[in-house]
């Protein structure tokens, strides 16, 4: 049976909360076959707080930062929606390592697993850090103004190796 080492990546929390955009990226190194997950090698999660919604270059940076800490390397597998449905060939040029969108059942299962990891880690971190998850719709315009003036001071909270 042929097995492949891949790193499945998923980002949770791309919506706005009180504190801004609190995103958790999970990178999971796995051994997969075309139809199943055979082994999980290692997992890394990183949390990122932005004061504006993430753009493509932010997503690339978030993924690259999270994946760097994975020792067992392999091609990155991401959901095309995470990269704004960008054409696969275009997205390949933006990363320092091989990347492709999910294709086989095994890869889809790997992404699903990464999604559970990022989602649950985010929930846990929100609880631990006490960040309010309520969305203040009325503050949206006010925050947008702040975003425009504030910029580039995005905090980055490392929440390593779950």
């Amino acid at each position: 049976m042929v097995m492949f080492t891949v790193i499945a990546v998923d980002i949770s929390g791309r919506h706005r909360i009180d504190a801004g955009y609190y995103m958790v990226c999970a990178a999971v190194s796995l051994e997969i076959t075309p139809t199943s997950i055979e082994k999980i090698n290692e997992i890394n999660t990183d949390a990122f707080l932005l004061n504006r919604s993430a753009e493509l270059h932010d997503i690339v940076r978030i993924i690259e930062t999270t994946v760097t800490k994975i020792k067992k390397k392999g091609p990155l597998i991401v959901e095309c929606g995470d990269l704004f449905n960008l054409d696969e060939n275009l997205s390949k040029t933006m990363f320092t390592q091989e990347i492709r969108y999910q294709e086989s059942i095994g890869e889809r299962k790997a992404i699903e697993l990464a999604h559970y990891v990022s989602l649950s880690t985010r929930k846990l971190l929100l609880k631990e850090t006490g960040l309010d998850i309520r969305i203040h719709e009325n503050d949206e315009d006010e925050n947008d103004e702040k975003d425009e003036s504030g910029d580039e001071n995005d905090n980055e909270n490392g929440a390593d190796n779950t």
Binding site: V2, F4, T33, P34, T35, D87, N89, L90, E103, S104, I105, G106, E107, R108, K109
Partner: protein, 431 residues
């Protein structure tokens, strides 16, 4: 004119295919999509008289640019086209606007999109009551979001106006909703029967194997080869719409093989919903033979396998054997190279040719290897009338090895776990 309700009448229509592509899309991919689009029309015996393409972002009014829309209308008139088919899904107003342009140019044609074409193909293939209901359900679900707009457009010239006695036909949408509810109820009943049949088959020790794969991969040809049947198989999209199940015996074990409808790229959700019960036949089988046309270029195979995996991944828990059909057309070295390039998508590969019979024995042994392990037990039945009746049950439900006749009939019986659990009761009753 109601563009949705016109029935398919001509045996061979002149059609114009229109394909708009985004400027930053993959040219090779677009070429493949256009080829597949053209293949689809063959399923209704249509004659493609012109293919019009344009590279631009979608236009709200016509889908293509206004100049291109006029070009389509003139081409439809000059080439006497009875149908203009767009690859992209069209909104009701886009259909109306392009139809209007065609009428103004003097062309008498129906404007539709690829989904409508697929629905027409399905409507022609549906022969059983259940499949007819499924097709009707898909058509109604397709129409529903556009129903209001459709009435508004068809009444554009004759509005009742304030205080007038005329009536707006709001009931059209309501009628569709009612009909959908009625079909859903009827299909639910049919689905329950199907589920009961599936449970019965499992309970009786049948191992269920389904043929799945992209449309025109050769599933029906393989089905015919495996079960020695004469099911219709053609070099055409969606030849099989209604699932067919036949018994197959491999190494004395009883298997039920089911041939099903093929997958296609961008299959609209209303079609998937309508054919959910048919797809469930694949999801709940014990093994899936994922058939692939291996003679195609690597990129095409990759895309088709991707779509098949996407359709199967959420629900299916079955074993998968990837059957690489039409392998006789290439040399072993070429096969190996292709296999290496697609290794991440191909599980349990078997090279076969359903047409020539190449590799069929390898496939049957692979199926046999993947069958669940049978339990074996020595059974002794009295050699009388009751014993003979019980013996008949053992023959029906498992594998009976050579019988030693004496005062008792003694034999080795192999069967699945569920059957073996009932074997003791049968023996007791025979005593």
């Amino acid at each position: 004119m109601n563009p949705y309700q016109e029935p398919v009448t001509d045996a061979s229509r002149n059609v114009i295919l229109v394909m708009r592509t985004d400027p930053d899309s993959n040219a090779e991919d677009n070429e493949r999509k256009l080829q597949e689009f053209s293949e689809l029309t063959k399923a209704l015996n249509d004659r493609v008289v012109d293919v019009i393409t344009q590279e631009r972002y979608s236009d709200r009014k016509y889908n293509v640019g206004s100049g291109k829309a006029k070009e389509i209308a003139i081409a439809a008139r000059d080439k006497k086209a009875s149908c203009v088919i767009f690859y992209d899904p069209l909104s009701t107003s886009q259909i109306y606007n392009v139809s209007k342009l065609c009428n103004e140019a003097g062309a008498n044609c129906r404007v539709m999109d690829r989904f409508q074409l697929i629905l027409d193909i399905f409507a022609e293939r549906a022969t059983t009551h259940r499949s007819k209901l499924q097709v009707e359900l898909a058509r109604l679900r397709y129409e529903l979001p556009n129903a209001r707009m459709l009435v508004s457009l068809s009444k554009k010239e004759e509005r009742a106006g304030w205080g007038g006695l005329g009536d707006y036909e709001d009931s059209y949408e309501q009628d569709i909703k009612k009909r959908i509810a009625r079909i859903n109820a009827e299909l639910k009943k049919a689905d329950l029967e199907e589920e009961a049949r599936r449970v019965y088959r499992h309970k009786n020790g049948f191992f269920i194997v389904s043929l799945a794969g992209y449309t025109n991969a050769g599933k029906s040809t393989l089905f015919n080869t495996l079960v020695d049947e004469q099911t219709e198989s053609k070099d055409m999209f969606f030849t099989t719409l209604i699932p067919k199940t036949r018994a197959l015996v491999i190494n004395k074990r009883k298997i039920l093989l089911t041939d099903t409808v093929g997958f296609i790229e961008d299959l609209p959700h209303f079609l998937i919903d309508a054919f959910r019960s048919t797809l469930e036949g694949i999801y709940f089988s014990d093994m899936i033979l994922l058939v692939v046309d291996f003679s195609e270029p690597v990129e095409h195979i990759r895309k088709k396998l991707m779509i098949s995996h996407e359709t199967l991944w959420e629900k299916s828990t079955s074993n998968i054997i990837t059957v690489l059909n039409k392998s006789e057309t290439m040399k072993p070295a070429e096969r190996k190279k292709k296999l290496q390039e697609l290794a991440h998508l191909i599980y349990n590969p078997i090279f076969i040719s359903a047409k020539t019979g190449m590799g069929i024995s390898d496939l049957t042994s692979e199926i046999n290897r993947n069958l669940p392990v049978l339990l074996t037990k020595t059974i002794s039945l009295p050699n009388d009338e009751r014993g003979a009746a019980a013996l008949s049950w053992f023959y029906d439900n498992g594998v009976v090895e050579e019988i030693l006749y004496g005062k008792y009939m003694t034999f080795e019986f192999s069967a699945a776990e569920e059957i073996m659990a009932r074997a003791d009761d049968i023996v007791l009753k025979a005593q």
